[in-house]
Amino acid sequence: MIPYCIAQIGPPEIELQSTNGVIKIKISPPEAKMWINPLNFKYNLVIWENSSNAELRSLNIFPTDIIDDLAPDTTYCLKVQATIPLDLKEGLFSPIRCVKTTRKVNDLVCATNVSVFALNMKFHLHWNNQYKQHVSYNVQYLMGYLKKLHDDYSVKWLSVPRCENITDTQCNFSSIIIGTSGFYYLRVQTMNEYNKSCLSDEVKVDPLITNEIGPPDVKLDISDVLLHIQISPPGGSESEVMRDHYDLSYRILYWKNSSNNEEEIKMKEIKQTIGTVSDLTPSTLYCVKVQAFSEFYNKSSHYSKEECIKTPGDKILPLIILATFVTALIAVCLVATTLVFVLYQAYNKIKYVFFPSCQPPLNIEHFGAQLFSSPFLSTTEEVIENCSIIETIITEEVNQVDFKDCKHSKQSSRDSGNYSNDDDTSGSKVSEETVEKEIV
């Protein structure tokens, strides 16, 4: 047995106040140590007109609340129960209480039609005032959670900065909306010259739900076969908040813009801010428009402006073909020329070697076999004449050098002309021969 599970929620205590055509209600939570967290309770009010065949109306109310959709000068009966929604537990109803509504007194007409317009996290409050008297407005806001507490929140309304004592019937309250920290209530207090004030109805603002997403910006870029779509998220500088919390995706619509308006519109959904489209027909005008949407919040923006771009077509293609052809032609010509040149050279060489065009003279032809007995070839005697001793006083080394040279020159069949022997031939011959014998 778990006491918490078995225990029944007792009836709450209620205080009623009937003023100015409305019923103000204040609820105290059921007493029990079991309910460690009295903030878990949600209160269910049942109200009906104290007449026959009255319709029962059931609504969820806060611990301190106002019921004001009532007819004046009428008796209403009501009862309240506390519930714990998570446990699907419903408590006992409080005893039935009946109260009569008063007449509505309106010496000053309050602001009416209080409504919120929000685009890309910029929030504006608009209202009307039918009687354009000398009045000033004071816009106030309350943080949502304060209504959940059992404390009196009527003193916790704060003024919206730059919307105090204004005469304009609109207010920009973006400054109080901080990211997504919960929801807010807003109301307009009208003050006349006699310092009499009147409070308008409240409006609940849940930032991410109330806000509307604006259209994104689109830029198109085209390469040969791909269309690139660059999407700028909506909201500009505030787009970070929207991107973070809405988890934005983008829906791209694209179609061929031709005279025949029956072209199929294609759709693509992406999460990134760059999309690509392939399978493009050349020389065609493609048009694109993009919409941002949030699946979680079931919200979508308007479509962006249509952007169109033409795919590259026939104008460029022939040029490409011509350029390719000419390049190929030149290349082929070069190769062919080189080949012809090489072949020609080869042919010449072969012809020269194997089939010479010049014939040697007739008188030379017979000399082929008698080459070595020709009287015109030089003899060894001549060689000896090449050598000459220039200086007899010079040391042995020098002489040796000379003799070596002489030996070399003997072997050659030509007259080198390095050593002249015209001047002193006879003497040198004799001494040379004797020295030669010594060395050997």
């Binding site: 878990n40 929604p85 998570l86 943080m143």
Partner: protein, 184 residues
């Protein structure tokens, strides 16, 4: 009944109707964002943990097994309950804590919105999640009651608040880990 009256009814009922228009499948993602924001605000609320409060530090022992059940739905509901408890704790007398009022308000407001959204989703689905593991829920209640009693005993002084704040940080970080595991 005039048009204004109807809008007033609409206003009162707005709580449940607008929230139920959200898809409940995306709630874990939303929960993670709320926890991340709440942790940031908890840090922003006050300064570093004061040294003089170290000797008063208490071990509350959060019952980690409550976040371990295999069914995602049960964990979702448990997290909602924890948010409700934290919301309740921070609605007490905070004057001695001397924290940044704006950060505290945003913290409470964010938690409250998340609680409402979760409640609407759970009510919508109308299933009984608590046929098992009642014992776990009671352990959770006991844990938060311990913190509540601790605060009352110390008359909500600065040290008791700082210790509670540190404990709530730990709690939220644990929940964040669990949600991350659930999503993967």
């Amino acid at each position: 009944m005039n048009a204004l009256g109807l809008t007033q009814i609409g206003l009162i009922l707005l709580c449940t109707t607008t929230i139920s228009s959200l898809q409940c499948n995306h709630l874990p993602l939303q929960q993670r964002k709320v926890i991340k924001k709440s942790l940031q605000l908890l840090d922003k609320m006050g300064k570093n943990f004061p040294r003089q409060c170290l000797r008063e530090k208490m071990s509350f022992r959060f019952p980690e097994q409550v976040l371990k059940p295999r069914q995602k739905e049960i964990v979702k509901v448990t997290i909602e309950e924890i948010f409700q408890h934290i919301f309740y704790i921070f609605s007490k007398n905070l004057t001695l804590a001397a924290w940044d009022g704006t950060a505290l308000e945003q913290f409470q407001n964010g938690l409250y919105q998340q609680i409402e959204q979760l409640e609407a989703c759970i009510i919508k689905k109308q299933t009984h999640y608590f046929q098992s593991k009642e014992v776990n829920r009671l352990k959770l209640k006991k844990y938060f009651q311990k913190i509540d009693c601790f605060l009352k005993d110390k008359q909500h002084n600065l040290c008791s608040w700082e210790i509670s704040r540190a404990e709530m940080r730990r709690c939220l970080q644990l929940i964040d880990k669990v949600i991350r595991k659930l999503n993967n």
